[in-house]
Symmetry: C2
Subunit: 385 residues, 2 copies
Amino acid sequence: MRPVAVIGIGQTKVDEHWDKSLRDLAGDAMLAAMEDAGMPDIQAVYVGNMMSGSANHQQHLGAYIADWVGLRYAEAFRVEAACSSAAVSFRTAVMAVASGEVDSAIAVAAEKMSDSPTAEITAQLATAADSDWELDQGVSFVALNALLMRRYMFEYGWHHEDFANFSINAHANGAHNPYARFQEPISASTYLKAPMVCDPINLMDASPMGDGAAALIVVPLERAPIIPGRPVIRVLGSGAATDTLSLHNRPEGLWLTAAEKSAKQAYSIAGLTPSDIDLFEVHDAFTIMAALSLEACGFAERGQGVRLALDNQITPIGKVPIATRGGLKARGHPVGATGLYQLVEVVQQLRCEAGDTQVPDARIGMAQNIGGSGSNIVIHILGAE
Amino acid sequence: MRPVAVIGIGQTKVDEHWDKSLRDLAGDAMLAAMEDAGMPDIQAVYVGNMMSGSANHQQHLGAYIADWVGLRYAEAFRVEAACSSAAVSFRTAVMAVASGEVDSAIAVAAEKMSDSPTAEITAQLATAADSDWELDQGVSFVALNALLMRRYMFEYGWHHEDFANFSINAHANGAHNPYARFQEPISASTYLKAPMVCDPINLMDASPMGDGAAALIVVPLERAPIIPGRPVIRVLGSGAATDTLSLHNRPEGLWLTAAEKSAKQAYSIAGLTPSDIDLFEVHDAFTIMAALSLEACGFAERGQGVRLALDNQITPIGKVPIATRGGLKARGHPVGATGLYQLVEVVQQLRCEAGDTQVPDARIGMAQNIGGSGSNIVIHILGAE
C-alpha cells in the first residue's frame, strides 16, 4: 500500500445557503481545495452525501459535480453511510490512491438541508436508523440518542449539567472559526436553561443541521509538493467498522464497538496509541456521543468520558483537545458533509493555521465520523512531517 | 497494485419480490456468493444501490445489510452513481483489495423498486439526469434516450426495425436464464408491434425495472483457492469515467465519450484490444444505448453499432456476443443492482456455467455499466486463468 498525503483543503461556511445550490456549494469547496493544492486537474472525485436524492431531487452527484469544476471525464461517484458519508469519501479516495488505480483524488462532501421543510428532513435523517426495527416504532434520531444519554446517566451516576463543557468548549472554539455556523460563545447558564428537545437532550446537547461542503485532495506521498513553511500532511492510519443498525441488538448499548474497532485499526496501521494524538475531532452530534466516543477510542475509562469535559481537558490546551474549530455543535452538522469538515480542521491544526484555537505543537490529529447511532464509524489519523 | 480475483458469485431472480425486503434480497445474494466462495467471513461490504432512501425509506445500507448476513463489525458503506451504482461497488471492492487496506471484500448491489408507485419510481429515476438543466424541462429518462435514438436514425439513416435484433437476442438468451425477469423468446413481429413508450422507443426497446440483488466476492489473486474444474477468475482491467450530466452540454451527442475513455483505460491496464473480448455484457437499458456502446467501446465504427445486430453478430456464437444471459432487456434492470448481474454473468461464462447460451471458449469477458445518459460509465474486464 503506497503512502498517501493530503495536499489541499477547502470548505464553505456552514449556514442556511438560500442563494446556493448543492452544486454551487460542492464546487466552491472543491475549487478552494484545488487552489490550495495548486492542482487544477484531478483524476477522481468521490462525493460524500446522505440525502440529495430526497432533499434535492438529485442523485448521481459524481457526474453532477465533476463537470461543474472543470473535471469533465474524471472518475466520479457518490458514497453514502448516513452522517458518516464524508469520512467514507475520504477513505475511498485514500484507498483509490493507495491502490495505484488513480494518482490524484478529491474527496468532496456536500449537503443542502435548508431547502426541505424540517419535518421532512427529520424523516430523512431517520432513514439512517433501522426502518424495520426502529422507525416502525416511531422513534426519531434524537430520541435514540436521548435513550442512550438517559441510560448513561443512570448507569454511571452523571447528571445533565456534567455534560455542559462539551457544548461550552465547542461554542468557545467555534467563535474563532469563520466557517462555523455559530460563532458566539455560550455560558453554563445558556446550557442549563436551553429548551428541552428530547429529555435529557436539550438544544445545547444537540448539533445544528445546515448546508455546507468541504473537500480534501490526496496524492501519493512521493508526489506531495514541498512548500516552505508548510508541513507535508500524511495519512497515517484509516479504520472503518460497522455495528448493528438498531440499538436494541447490541450486547452493550453504551459501548460503541465500531468506534473501538475502527480506532484500533487506525492506531495499529499508524503504530500509535491514544496518548500520541494531539487533537481529536470527535463526532459530537450529541454530547452523549462525544462522551461515548472518548471512551471507545481509548481516551477515557468506561463511563468516564464526561470526566474529561468536567476537568477541562477537552479545550485546545487540554489533554485531549476536541471540537477545536467548533465541532458538530458549533461549526454545524451538515450531515453527509461533516466528516470532511473534521478532516479539513485537522489539517488546519497540523499546518498551524488554526489561529486562536491552535493546539500547541500539534503534530498528529485524529478525526472520527459516525453514521447512525454508532452503526458506522470511520477514523482517520493524519500527521505533519 | 496487487492483482485481484473473483472467488464467489450470487444473485436472486429479477422479479417483483412482494414477499422480500431490500435486506432479504441483498442478504440472499450475499449468502449465495459466500457459499459459492466457501467464505463465511469477509472484511468489507460495498453496497451498490440507487434509490433506497426514497423508494424504501432506508439509507445507510452498509450497516443495514452487513449485520444481516453475519458480518457484524465489517467495514460497510453504500456507493451510488444512478444506474451504474453496482459496477461502482465492484470497482470500490477491487480498489480496496488492491490497496491492501482489506484482504477480502464483497460487492453487493440491490434495488427494490416494486414497493413504490410507478409514477414515483419514474420521478426517482429522473434524479439520475440533471435537475437544473433537464428535469426542469419536464423530460423523463426514457425521453432523453428517445431523443438520442431519433437523432441517431436521422444522422446514420437507420430505421426503427434495424434495432430489432438487440431485443430479440436478449430475450432469446434470457429464455435460458432462470434468474431473468422474462424467460420467453420474442419474434420480430413482437418487436415491430410493441406499444410505443416514447417515440421511437417502444416497449421492446426498453428494459424492465424490477427487484433484485447480486454479489461478488474479491480477494488478492494469490489467495484465490484452486478448485479442480473451475478456472481462477482474475480482474484484468477496470476503468471509470464521467461525462456531462446533461446531454445538451456534449460536443457530440451521439458519442459516448465516457464509454470510450473507461474502455480504453480498462483495455490499457489489461493489455487487450476489443478483438480479444470473447463476450461483452453491454448496458442495453435501451437498444440505442447498446448500439452507441458497441461503437464507443471499439466494436463497431461510428454509426454502425446497429450493423452488428443486423448481421447476427451479437448472439452467443457471433463475433461480439452481448446480453448473453438476457441483458438489461430480458434479465431485467433493477437499476442500482444491474452492474453486478452483468459481472456475475461474465463469471458464469468464464466458468462455462452458462448452459444453453454458453459462449464457446470464453476466456475474457467485459461488462459495461452506464449511469444516466452515458454520464458515468464503468468497465471491467475479467479473465479465466
